[in-house]
Amino acid sequence: MFSELWSDVRYRTRALFRRRSVERELDDELRFHIEREAEALARQVRYAARSLRRQPTFTLTVVLILGGGIGASSAVFTVVNGLLLSKLPVPHPEQLAVVGDPAAVHSAWTGSPETDYVSYPVFADIRDQNTVFTGVYANGYGDDWDISIDGTATFEQARTRCVSGGFFSVLQVPAYLGRTFTATEDAVPGQDPYVVISYDYWQRRFNGDRSVIGRIIRVNRVTLTIIGITPPWFTGDIVGESIDFWMPMMMAPLVRPNRKLVDNRLASWLVIMGRLKPGVTLEQARAQIAAIEARSIRDHISGRTLSQFEDDLRSTPIRVESGAAGFSSVRAHYGSVIRIAMAAVGLLVLIVCANVCSLMLARAAGRAREMTVRMALGAGRSRLVRQLLTESAVLAILAGAVGLAVAAAGGRLLLATAAAGHDPIVLDTTPDPRVFAFTAGVTLACLVLFGLAPALRATRIDVAAALRAHGRSLFGSGGRGRRGSVTRSLVLAQIALSTLLLMGSGLLVRSVQRLLHVDLGLDRDHMLVAHVAATRTKYAGPRLAALRRELVARASEVPGVEAASYSLDGLLSGGQSAGHVDVSGFVARADSERQVYYDEVGPGFFHALGARIVRGRDLEPRDADANTYAAAINQTMANAYFRDRDPIGQTVTMDSASFTIAAVVRDVQEDANMRAKPVRRLYFATFAPSDLPQSFELLIRVRGQPASFVEPVRRALATLDPTVPVDVEPLTARIRGAVAQDILITKVTLVFGGLALALAALGLYGVTAYSTEQRTAEFGLRTALGAEAGAIARMVVGESTRLAIAGVVIGIPLGVAAARLIQRQIFGVGVVDVPSLSVAIAVLVAASLVASYVPARRAAGVSPLDALRAE
């Protein structure tokens, strides 16, 4: 005891005087220990890698299947990340706040003020009166203007936005070259004719020429000077869109003189973004901005417009939300696609893991002998489990690397497929830390799902008994008995999940078919629509009316054309007009009951559409004169306002113009949203020529295939005036465009369903093949006892099919439950749809028959001698 005490004192004294060297020694000692630990781990990994290398097909198969699954899920997540989660690449995006609906970047409405997007005077009030933002800007859409660069005669198009002066300063985006707008510019219309172009546009259109500053862009013949370029990382504040250049808000009235864009309190077309002052919460900002906005409108509007606004305000209050993720209409549009894709890919990953798990189990069973021997030689169980886990980890990491590589490419592919035919969706698909973390998480989950169970099972053996018995038959993971049931349940699970996916895809396919063939109330398969962008021309007033008449006449002269007419809003064009009416003999209880959609149409409109006139007559050329003021209403409107009365001869008044109802027509679907419910519609012949150029659409009914008439019609229209921009397409093309998102979802789920089916079939094949191999002795015996080859084959196929059917039976209720979750996507078919269900079942049974074919033949061909030898 005393000597210990003395030793302690000596040690401590020494330590006191040689502190630093003692600490250094401690460091060295610990470092040595850690290095040895790392070496031991490295040795384990190398051993695992070596044993994997010895079975290349297994390793390759697992890495590819797993990598594919991880890659697919990471690809979908990359898109989710870019679209839904990522923040704008500007400094401190968490300080940004959006006033209104972030998806309303392409919305415009002239009428009563909106709450989701605002007019310029309202924005000006918010800008001037708020105390919650350090800065705020407004952002409005740019049209398909005619752009000419450097005064050349040829026109081109670009993606543009109109922004107020604070745009670049609020977002804190510096200029890469030149300068951006200052907040004081953009005060007086026409005073600051400048544009700022994006880096991408600079490279694409100007080849990165640094002398671009000072060059001229003419927009609708208004001269604007390029003053600056934004940095490469900035593509705007709208996620999914890449903007070419930004124009000051105050130049918009010059570029679009026919719309009072900056001084009309009722013309709503702007979304607003502000940067919050430090310490201000979103709730505080919302309270103040909502008050300013409401006051701004109430102080200047009265009467019906105001009451309409108050109604709107009650149902959709003014929102102020985080603007960190910017604006996006793409996000809103593709939200459900993304969610369904994530669900589908999640199912696929589960199937992949089940598949790989059964592969690993089979492999572990195959190495039973090796495990047994090693345990007999003294290896602890935990060491073996650790080794197997290391192997699984190596596989998982390899697969994760493959998956990450697939993720970026897959994400791009997904976006390209989604945007096919439209404007490309611009998202940064390079894997960022969040995608990497997601991939790592999925990999880890997979590792646990498929690595742990086989590792634990493989080492749970009684060594002595194992050495005595036959190594193989003890681990019959495909044969009968308790141990086989794990692999069988894995295959069952795969088949059930595949059933789910196939049922879902089937429903979506049928739904798309229904959408594409919905009855629109007109002769949809023989219609051509021609959009005439007369706003880009100088036709106005009587000349515009004459243009319309002449174009209709030219179109009618094309051989094969049955009838032609025009309307202002067209069919499925994305634009509709609505207003409030007073109907004779009808007392409205609320303003919403007075709202109808309307369109100004030409003579013979309904005849041209092939719509059915239920009562009365079609609109005629004489109705185009100001005198008759004849109008037609649709069935929904007739039912709403007239019930049992005869609408013919009654009066409808809108904005102090009174129309006499001359016809009732069966409902015509004009909304680009194919799922839209029927609405009240009013049609009247154009009653007053517009003073400003106005776009319109020609509706042309043909005999035969509409696609073959596109060129002849275009040529015929061009003979009148080739400078008038006309875009001709069959109506079915527009229908397909309206349904594009549904088609995308269906494609995605079909792909995943197909992959799931292939994997499940492979799983079933594997199980059947292994089971057959295990039962070689049994088959040999049966053959020796006189069984026919066909009977044995039928037995194998029968068992395999029974397994498949069991999986299908489990999968069907799951599929019905899942269908209920996507009910909003499904159109025109019930949740339990017999045709698609039958197809799904048939496909799965067929796949199981194919999967069991080869093993069945092999089983039938087993000779008794082979069987004995195999023992």
Partner: protein
């Protein structure tokens, strides 16, 4: 040698927490077989206990330094089998005496406890 069959009814090795005095005893015993560095001590304990004992470095090195302080073991720097500098420990005479005493005490304790546990 006793039978080496490795049937193990437990799913995983439970982590057993060693009281401080016991760890000292095990280290002294390990070093009684020859000089070792810290890593080798922990490996040896792990192996010999049939993977039951895993001594984390956070307990091992403080214990080693405690024993060194009390003069039960002594340290010197040497070259390890992979040509790295490592600190080797071996038993002092005092340490050997302490080892014998503690081993004896441990065996008396455990037989007494077993007797009590077998009582019911």
């Amino acid at each position: 040698m006793a039978d080496k069959h490795a049937r193990d009814d437990r799913d995983m090795d439970g982590k057993i927490d060693l009281p401080q005095g016991t760890l000292d005893l095990l280290i002294l015993k390990a070093l009684s077989l020859g000089a070792m560095h810290g890593w080798a001590i922990s490996e040896r304990l792990h192996q010999v206990s049939r993977a039951t004992l895993q001594v984390p470095q956070g307990s091992l090195y403080p214990a080693l330094h405690r024993l060194e302080r009390r003069g039960l073991i002594r340290a010197h720097w040497g070259v390890s089998d992979n040509n790295r500098r490592a600190k080797y420990y071996d038993l002092t005479r005092t340490g050997q005496k302490r080892l014998d005493a503690e081993t004896d005490a441990w065996q008396r304790l455990t037989s007494a406890v077993s007797l009590v546990l077998d009582m019911g």
